[in-house]
Symmetry: C2
């Protein structure tokens, strides 16, 4: 984004930057801490924090500021507008119940996948990925499904601008090899990833399509490699995943 | 919010207003439609939409604008900072599996409850309430639990500023009667609501507490009145709900 662009309202950019600087590790910040976290001046950070407070997005004890549940309103307009939002979860839950593993749905935003729905496995005691959380696209099964559906110019731009980091010994880091894998994903209609983002985690993903055939989102099932072999993932999980993605696609088509 | 307040940055308020004007019904808007929906001038609406686009929160085909998954980032800082966020869902899922009904968690924001987690019942084919969605507090079981935990001045201010609408023939609309019910909720440690927001829906809710005993959120189970009698809700659902709320409270305490 060009700093000189007259269409960009400077204070709006700063307000969003400050809002996004809150996190699990920085759940409450003083004016000074917010200024340090964002690179804004103290005066600007203070003005923005007070603005966020007046708008109901932050609260303060007079010293520290923290976000309120009001910020969830900001994402809700997007989620509510997703055609699959209301219809995917019962199917995902049935899939997760049957396979006893977690199932997620994600869309692509820039070079990252963004979780828009998630059904954790019953047994799961640690949930670290939830709606709104993000991962790089290239080493994940949902990312592969979404990248495989990109028009060529967008895929080229993604590959040109993305460093394929070796996150595990399995990660595909050669752009040509990734391209070949994405072609395979497009042809077979699903992706299988074996510990490329995190060792010991396997997952399979399939596309959910709109009525025109356009890929709207990716649906996945992921499992611990100690519990589920690659053969079981391909032989038992993938067929059920494809059926579920198809059922969601049909439900969505019925809406229009 | 005073229009004259020098601490409120006008353009920030307008940007958030425009962002929140997107919805399921208005998932894509032209500059003119956005101006009409928000009361902003076309020039201002255009500048803000272009700003949102540059920041990755909106995309355009040259005519209409729609939100991107980028907006989910804005709410994620809040959710990630909730101490119960990662720990509640496995417990909620076990509860929902056992009772075969949906379970939700909500916090209070202004006079509304805001869903922060939700596990739909397997059988559910219509999910209309999801993370980030909002309901008035007074006619809901989670709202009653959260209102019952408010300090007296805040409760008084809530009752003074809220019109208790008769949403169904069952809704408590008398402030004194609501106060008495909230005292009962505080004493017994749970709330039961029978079709006060929507006829045919019954629910029970209990508080989830932080390590200091402060109520952080409300946990509920809701069911169709045709499937679950009030006796079953009280006799079978409430004890499991209380156990689950207690288990989540313990898990959170273990973190600190």
């Amino acid at each position: 984004m060009s700093r000189e662009d007259p269409d960009v309202i400077d204070s709006v950019e700063k307000a969003f930057r400050l809002l996004q600087s809150f996190s699990a590790e920085r759940s409450a910040m003083t004016v000074s801490e917010a200024a340090a976290a964002t690179g804004l001046t103290r005066a600007t950070a203070r003005r923005i924090l007070l603005t966020l407070e007046r708008l109901g997005f932050a609260e303060t004890d007079g010293r520290s500021f923290r976000l309120t549940a009001g910020v969830l309103r900001l994402g809700y307009g997007y989620l509510a507008a997703l055609p699959f939002w209301e219809h995917a979860q019962p199917h995902m839950r049935a899939l997760s119940d049957e396979l006893r593993e977690s199932s997620s749905m994600a869309t692509l935003d820039g070079g990252e996948i963004v979780y828009v729905a998630r059904v954790p496995a019953s047994r799961s005691m640690t949930i670290t990925l939830n709606v709104g959380s993000r991962l790089p696209a290239y080493p994940t099964s949902m990312g592969r499904v979404l990248l495989a559906a990109l028009p060529e110019p967008e895929l080229r731009s993604y590959l040109d601008s993305t460093t394929l980091e070796r996150l595990t010994p399995n990660t595909i880091t050669d752009p040509d090899e990734l391209r070949a894998e994405l072609r395979r994903v497009a042809e077979q209609g699903f992706a299988v990833v074996d510990g490329e983002r995190e060792e010991g985690i396997r997952s399979a993903a399939a596309p959910v399509r709109g009525s025109t055939g356009r890929v709207l989102a990716a649906l996945n099932v992921s499992a611990n490699a100690g519990r589920v072999s690659l053969e079981e993932l391909r032989g038992r999980f993938v067929p059920r995943l494809l059926e579920t993605a198809e059922a969601i696609t049909k439900d969505i088509a019925g809406l229009h």
